[in-house]
Chain length 348, copies 2
Amino acid sequence: SRNIRLAVIPGDGIGTEVVAEGLKVLEAVGAKIDATHYDLGATRYHATGETLSDEVLQELRGYDAILLGAIGDPSVPPGILERDLLLRLRFELDHYVNLRPVKLYPGVETPLADTLPGDIDMLVVREGTESLYAGAGGVLRRGTPHEIATQESLNTAFGVERVVRYAFARAAERPRKKLTLVHKTNVLTYAGDLWQRTVNRVAADFPEVTTDYQHIDAASMFFVNQPERFDVIVTDNLFGDIITDIGAAIAGGIGLAASGNINPERTAPSMFEPVHGSAPDIAGQGKADPTATILSVAMMLDHLGLAEEAARVEQAVADDIVERLTGWTGRTTHEIGDDITARVSGGA
Amino acid sequence: SRNIRLAVIPGDGIGTEVVAEGLKVLEAVGAKIDATHYDLGATRYHATGETLSDEVLQELRGYDAILLGAIGDPSVPPGILERDLLLRLRFELDHYVNLRPVKLYPGVETPLADTLPGDIDMLVVREGTESLYAGAGGVLRRGTPHEIATQESLNTAFGVERVVRYAFARAAERPRKKLTLVHKTNVLTYAGDLWQRTVNRVAADFPEVTTDYQHIDAASMFFVNQPERFDVIVTDNLFGDIITDIGAAIAGGIGLAASGNINPERTAPSMFEPVHGSAPDIAGQGKADPTATILSVAMMLDHLGLAEEAARVEQAVADDIVERLTGWTGRTTHEIGDDITARVSGGA
Ligand SMILES: CC(C)[C@H](C(=O)O)[C@@H](O)C(=O)O
Ligand SMILES: CC(C)[C@H](C(=O)O)[C@@H](O)C(=O)O
C-alpha cells in the first residue's frame, strides 16, 4: 500500500518541540509516512500577514491526515490565529467530531483524592463546527460607554444530529454503553431543546445505549467529585472545550490530553493535536511533556486503520507512565520522546 | 430601627427544607425580621400557570431582601421556571453582581488531594444580567431536518463596567488584591474584547490591584489543580455559572456553596440563595444540607449592615463544620439546622 501522506503543522511555542517527538515515535512504529511540514502560526503571520491562505488550505485537503502541535502567541492579538488558522481548519475540513478521551492511566498522579484509574475512563465527543465557535456576532460603538458586543451560537439539526449519531455509535462499542448529553437546556432553551430532542430521537436507533443528561454546571462539578458517573459524553463546542480541560486536569494534567478533530466521512483529512496550547512561558526550554502529542499520534494511527500500531504506541505510553510512579521525573521533552520511542521499537 | 422586611421564596424540592433552617438561624441571631412567604415555584405553576406575575414582582420590590431556596422541578419543561421566575427576578431586580465565595473551611473534605483550607479562598464575581442569559435567540423549522436554533450573548459597556468596578473594589479589600478576568477572548472575540478592554481601563483606578487573565477552559483546569492561583475572579454570567459549580465541588460540595444576587446600588432588594438546585431526587427526606442556605443568610445579614450577626452565623457554621471532621455525619437537615442554631444562640 502507498505511504501515508501526512501534513505536519508544528505551530507556535512548545508546538514544535512536542511534534518532533510525535514524529519520532511515528517513525519508530514503522508506519510508512511521507511527512510535509507547514510553518503556519505566529512567525509566518508576523513575516507575511498570512494565517491560512486558500492555496495552503486546498493543498492540505490532499493529505491523509494532519498532525498539529499548538497555535497561538501573545504577540498576536487574541483570536486571530485561533479563528483564522486553527478554527478555520476545523471548520473548513468539517471536523465535526472533536474526540477527547479522558482516561486516568495507572501511575498518573491525579489531583483527586481516592480516585483510581478505573474511575476515570470516558470519551468526550465535542461538536467541532457550530455553536458560539461560528464566529457570528458584532460590535457597535466600540470603546464608548454605549458599546454593545454580541456573540451568536448557531446550531443546526444537521450539525447536531451527525455528532449525536457518532457519539451513540461510540457509546454502543464500549462496555458501559452510556451516553450523557451535557448542555444548559434550562437557559439556552432553543439550542438545548434541539440537542435534547435529537438525543431522544437518535436513542431509538441505539436501544442498547443508556442515555442521561446533565447541565454543564453540574457536569463540571461531577467531573471533580463523581467522575465515575460518565462514560461517553456528547456536548457542544464551547461546553466541550471547558469540560475537556477539566477532564485533562483530573486525568493528570494537560501534558497527557490527546485529541482528534475527526471528519468521519473522510471528505477531508482529520487533524490530531494535543489539547494543550503553545505555552509560550515554557517554550524552547525542553520542559514540555510530549505525551499528549504522542497519544494524539496513536489516535491518528487508529483513524488511518493502523490499529496494531496505534495500540503499540498507546501501550508504550502507558508503560512509560507507570515508570513515572517511581519518581522518575525531570526528564526533558526529548528524553520522554526517546524513552517512549525506545519502547515502541521494542528496545525498552 | 425598624424591622427588616424579608421576602422568603422557598421554591421547589429541597428548597423548602433548607429555607426553614435558614430562617431558624436568622431568628436565633436576634435580627429583627418580618418575613413574608411567597409560594412561587412548580406547585403554583401547575395550579395557576403563574411563574411570576407583575403584581408579585412589584410587591417584592418593596422588601429589604429576598431569601430563596431553589427553583425547578422535572414536571416542568426545562427553562420555564428558570427563565420566567428565577432569572426574571435576577434581571428585573438588577442583580448584576452574583457573588459566590469559594472557600474551603477547615474540616471540610475536599475531593482534591494535598489541598489545605488556605489554598482555596476566592470570591467569584459573576455578572448576573447579561450575556447568553439574556434569553435572546430563536428557532426556525423546529423538529425538521432543516431546524436552526440560535442563542445570542448580549454584552454592554454599561453592564460589563459596573460589575468589573465592583470586582476591583472587592479585590482591593482583600489581602492578596488580585483580580483574574475569566473569559474566552480568543473565540468570543467581540465580547471578550469588551471585557478585556474594560478590565484594562478600570485597572487604572485601582493601582493596588494586580490583574490577570485566564481563558475559561484553562481557569476550569486550574480550579482543580492550582486553585491557589485565584483570589477574586470576575467573569460573565455563563462562565460564572460553570466555574462556581467547580468551585463548589473543590470546596467540599454543593451543600456548602452560598450566593448573593446583589444590586449594589440598592435600587431593588438583593436576593440570597444556595448555589444548589431543588434536588428532586432527595426532596422531602431530610437529607439536604442546609449549610449553603445558612451561609447565604450570613451574606444577607452582611449586606443588610448587620456585620456582627453575619460573622456570628459564619462562625457557627465554621465551628459546626470542624465537628464534622470527627465523623459526625448522618445528621438530618433539621439536625444540622438545630446544631448551627444552638451555636448561634451561644448554646453549644
Ligand atoms: C485555542 C482554542 C481556540 C481552542 C478551542 O477553544 O477549541 C483550544 O482551547 C482547544 O480546546 O483546542
Ligand atoms: C437554575 C439555573 C438557571 C441557575 C443558573 O444557571 O444561573 C443555577 O445554575 C445557578 O447557578 O444559580
